[in-house]
Subunit: 416 residues, 2 copies
């Protein structure tokens, strides 16, 4: 038994809306353990919808449609399906009654709504508790099940949870679940990680697959199991193996973030941090304060964009700044110490770099960034990064802030 | 000539990522006037990818693939296409050279990257200026064109603009264009705007359509024309009418941002600004420094998260803070004046508010935010906002920073 998701709507082909329905349904199918191998998007066109149905019948046994159930002439999903399977449409009194009730306060439903009460003979109503468009659950031939949902995400989701999931469970699905855990890494390229955990990737179950995005690499560990507890039990030893191999480059799993890790480590130590930012302009502080309750560990910061502020507010030595330049390990160190002292925090962390597109010199290219960390005991460390300038200013700034969090995370961990 | 978008990736079938690539490509095809009737998603499975290719060849003449070009064993798009069309793969020295250059600072590319240099004989390289995975433009048989892109959106988009669009235009597409201009508004609800410009929305061409998202309202003016100059000429009078009706609530068009408007206004006056942020934690500074060359007008800021920093660094009166609370118009005003004085800027702007989920009191709910603006001549103004707490902490923080920019923008404009 496998499913295909078919989203109907010309607005999807015009790129006017993002296909979030497909993502929701994909997650739901995965969690119920119902395999699905294809998703299709097609416009509000009966001929092309029929072609899609013909293909889908050949390769899937549960066809899930979204869209095209509305009252307007371009909403064609139901009648096209009826036509394809040569089933007559019949008006359902239950739907008429439901529409009458829903539109009572507006003086009754409009004539165009009436077509929403037409379903193929033999189909069951899939009630829509929110909107006007009901869907259907229909077995037009043995071994084939069709479900239709409106395109409005809130309506589709509620109908899915209220009616589709209990129906699918009653048919015996959802006994096996597919469960994933995502491990998250910072400071290791995808290719290096893939080589280190090649033995894990090679195994058939649980599967381990790397993917990259937004500057970080992830490993997805996926299992089939009869329930969540069993899934976790299967995943645990694989995760432990990988963490053992990769070490500190693995910073967390699932919804963990670098900022969240730093927050937890600071809270465990009852330590506070303050930030001194140049090229990131506040982005590091913004990341650290995304977390509710960040006032526990975040005291504040100084955005020392102009050099005068590095000197006057943070106490950077003006001769050092002149000699080494604002983008230097020396200035990064003094900024970190300065903000720690000035704001009275346990840790100080600084970023100074060239985000571009301007500002590069012969010896200092766009993407050159120094991170400074002033430790509670008075020591200060710095790190140099040479980030890719090709991906632009926002990329350099994003990676700078993330690298700063990672440098702080590793320092916090090394102090255990 | 019509296109099909084919997105390859098991992560799409598992619902782990939203298919934003399909939306981007759909918009781009529409703007070039290239019809497309189907989109398909398939997993990293050669057998199923081949089935999808067989179907797509029957119904489209331009197949656009995203995903599956990476260095890992589950990246299979290129070899599967080569296999389907029975074309041998050949290593491209240009790609090897490009990889060597990109990975030079890491001591060379890894062995797994080498497979990214394999393309079918006869295919042209579709260069990837950002990442390691190049795509291809390939005519495996007469009347069929295949383009492949990596799944990483930033890479795919740049490759599309740099190489795919010029190629498609050289083939004669994009002769009639669909051209849109988006007007952007802040501080006016969608329903109010729609009523004000009802006459413009009612007209058939250019079409004017309102939409809302991310806290702002937009109007999209769309025309069909034979070229951009003609399109702009058709749009110009409609835009002028709308701007005349709506006034200052329209802050810009297309890629304009509130931060960009503020930047331009400050640069025109040769003025500088400094920020004092509490609940936004650096987010306002981050927005103001996204713009290249922001050092012209941005001096820096103080992230005064802890109250002690408001008093010690910004000079907020501790008795006032005690009496009125940190989230008050009085403290906002003193923060703005304090940062202006301390950092020596022409303008000072402050944000203090309750982002939630904690921190609310009986009289001060989550979402209560005060913005202060210290003007160059010494005057200081404050504004109170009561933002919706239901959409969460990040929503309150985002709207706080955007409202601060808007308050500053209106002050800058009123000074002309």
């Amino acid at each position: 038994m496998n499913a295909e998701i078919i989203c109907v709507g010309t607005e999807l082909l015009l790129g006017e809306i993002l296909n979030s329905n497909a993502q929701f349904l994909a997650q739901q199918l995965a969690s119920l353990g119902i395999p699905h191998y294809y998703q299709t998007v097609v416009g509000d066109n009966p001929t092309r919808i029929k072609k899609v149905v013909a293909i889908a019948c050949d390769r899937a046994r549960l066809l899930i449609f979204t869209g095209g159930l509305g009252p307007t002439p371009d909403d064609l999903t139901t009648e096209t399906l009826a036509d394809f399977f040569q089933a007559p449409l019949a008006e359902r009194p239950e739907i008429i009654a439901d529409l009458e009730q829903k539109y009572a306060h507006r003086g009754g439903f409009s004539p165009s709504n009436r077509k929403q009460a037409l379903l193929p003979v033999g189909a069951d109503i899939l009630p829509n508790p929110i909107g006007s468009a009901p869907g259907m659950i229909w077995q037009p031939r043995t071994g084939l099940i069709i479900m239709t949902f409106p395109g409005v995400p809130a309506e589709m989701k509620q109908m899915w949870h209220d009616t589709a999931v209990p129906f699918l469970r009653s048919q015996g699905w959802g006994k096996e679940i597919i469960y994933s855990r995502v491990l998250r890494f910072w400071g290791i390229p995808e290719s290096v990680l893939a080589e280190k955990v090649a033995a894990q990737i090679a195994r058939p179950h649980p599967t381990v697959a790397p993917y990259a995005g937004n500057g970080e690499v992830r490993l997805r560990i996926t299992v089939r199991a009869s329930n969540e507890a069993e899934a976790q039990q299967l995943i645990r030893p694989v995760e432990a193996e990988i963490r053992q191999i990769v070490g500190l480059d693995c910073y967390g799993a699932d919804d963990d973030s670098l900022a969240g890790c730093v927050a937890t480590l600071l809270q465990q130590r009852q330590h506070t941090v303050a930030v001194a930012e140049s090229c990131t302009g506040g982005g590091l502080g913004e990341l650290l304060t995304r977390i509710p309750g960040s006032s526990d560990y975040f005291r504040g910061g100084v955005i020392a964009y102009a050099n005068a502020i590095k000197v006057e507010v943070l106490g950077v030595n003006s001769e050092d700044l002149e000699r080494e330049g604002a983008v230097s390990a020396t200035v990064a160190a003094q900024m970190a110490v300065g903000v720690k002292t000035r704001l009275g925090s346990d840790w100080g962390i600084s970023i100074t770099g060239i985000a571009g597109p301007g500002g590069a010199t012969l010896t200092k290219p766009v993407g050159l960034v120094y991170i400074g960390v002033a430790l509670p005991e008075g020591e200060v460390i710095t790190r140099e990064f040479r980030l890719s300038a090709q991906r632009g200013r926002e990329w350099v700034r994003h990676l700078s802030a993330m690298n700063a969090l990672d440098v702080l995370r590793r320092q916090l961990l090394s102090q255990v």
